[in-house]
Amino acid sequence: MDELIYNFAVWLDDTRWSAMLHESYYMYNWVESTHVMTLMISLGMLFLIDLRMLGYALPDVPASKIAQKLSIPMAFGFTVMFITGISLFYAVPVRSAQSVWFRVKMVLLVACAVNAYLFHKRMNESVSSWDNDARAPSRIRHGAALSLGFWTIVVICGRFIAYDWFDCDYDQSGFIEFVAGCVPGQERF
């Protein structure tokens, strides 16, 4: 599996557009800046929704209204983040595919998606009974707290990708080599 991922990343790395994106100082920086700055829209909305459920933000605004209205800019923000995120991966595919932090981030993104699905399902089932309460019921609050926790770690992992502490071209422990998916004898980093 690791070899398959590595070979796919090498193939991506060899494409003309990947090299162009990576080597273009301004284009790469614009894409990365857009990815980071869209946090203000996507995570900004998401955190406000989660904090509303926990009773820390906008407690006197109906929860359903917050979730419904803020989900539009949030979806826009996540769409831009998704596109720019794929572009960033495409620009540096081998190192990203073998980054411990990138892999943890991807797993957490799946966890975030599952949590968001369950959160909205539970909320839609019961919101009419607690819509105006300052704090949501405990099941919803747990979902909101999980969301905050997961996304905080996603941001931390995203930031850590830039650091080379666990890169495959350094001597790493067996555990790190396993998690990063380092391929014995690989020549591309």
Binding site: L39, M40, G44, V155, I156, Y163
Partner: protein
């Protein structure tokens, strides 16, 4: 009395004048004298505990950077919701007063998080920042944002919104969003410079 000349917008006009003065000062040769004067302060920043930790412990610096980003997300969220409501684009069916006041609380704590983590990060790379023009642009944008938010936007929006000229409301909302996105953009560009 200035109040009688400028009417209810005295504070707004004076703060606007201060921001304009700050901008003019920053783009004239007069700033060089101040820049030389503050160099010892930046040298001292690197010798503080924050500076030593930031320079020697990469994981701590990176973790604080991540918290800075989370603060940025919260600040962005509060600005978009607060100013989106001022512009009538978000939560238009909820009383504006409620949204503006509640969003301000989130904004305040997000700004505190950004300042605390930002000071830590600046200590770690103080001399690099000192020589980076984009860092000074960010400080200029940040000062403009703080002055604008606390001395123009907040006092203005404490009045009954119906009594405020709708065009002024729109100008304040758009300006606020633009200023804070400029702060974020210049901050991001620091990472690409030097």
């Amino acid at each position: 009395m200035p109040t009688s000349i400028f009417g209810p917008y005295t504070r707004t006009i004076f703060t606007g004048a201060v921001i304009t003065g700050l901008l003019l000062f920053s783009f004239t040769y007069a700033r060089v004298g101040v820049w030389i004067e503050v160099q010892p302060f930046f040298e001292w920043m690197e010798t503080t505990w924050f500076g030593l930790i930031g320079k020697t412990w990469g994981a701590a610096f990176a973790s604080i950077q991540a918290i800075h980003l989370i603060g940025l997300a919260l600040l962005g969220g509060s600005v978009i919701v607060g100013d989106g409501r001022v512009l009538g684009l978000i939560l238009a069916d909820v009383p504006a007063r409620t949204i503006i006041d509640r969003a301000h609380k989130v904004f305040f704590w997000a700004l505190m998080t950004l300042l605390a983590t930002g000071i830590f990060m600046a200590c770690g790379v103080a001399m690099k920042l000192y020589y980076l023009p984009v860092y000074w642009y960010k400080m200029l944008a940040l000062c403009t944002g703080v002055f604008f938010h606390f001395y123009i936007r907040k006092p203005l929006l404490q009045r009954e919104l119906e009594d405020i000229n709708p065009w002024l409301l729109k100008a304040v909302g758009v300006s606020s969003v633009m200023i804070w996105f400029t702060v974020a953009a210049t901050g991001r560009w620091i990472g690409f410079s030097g």
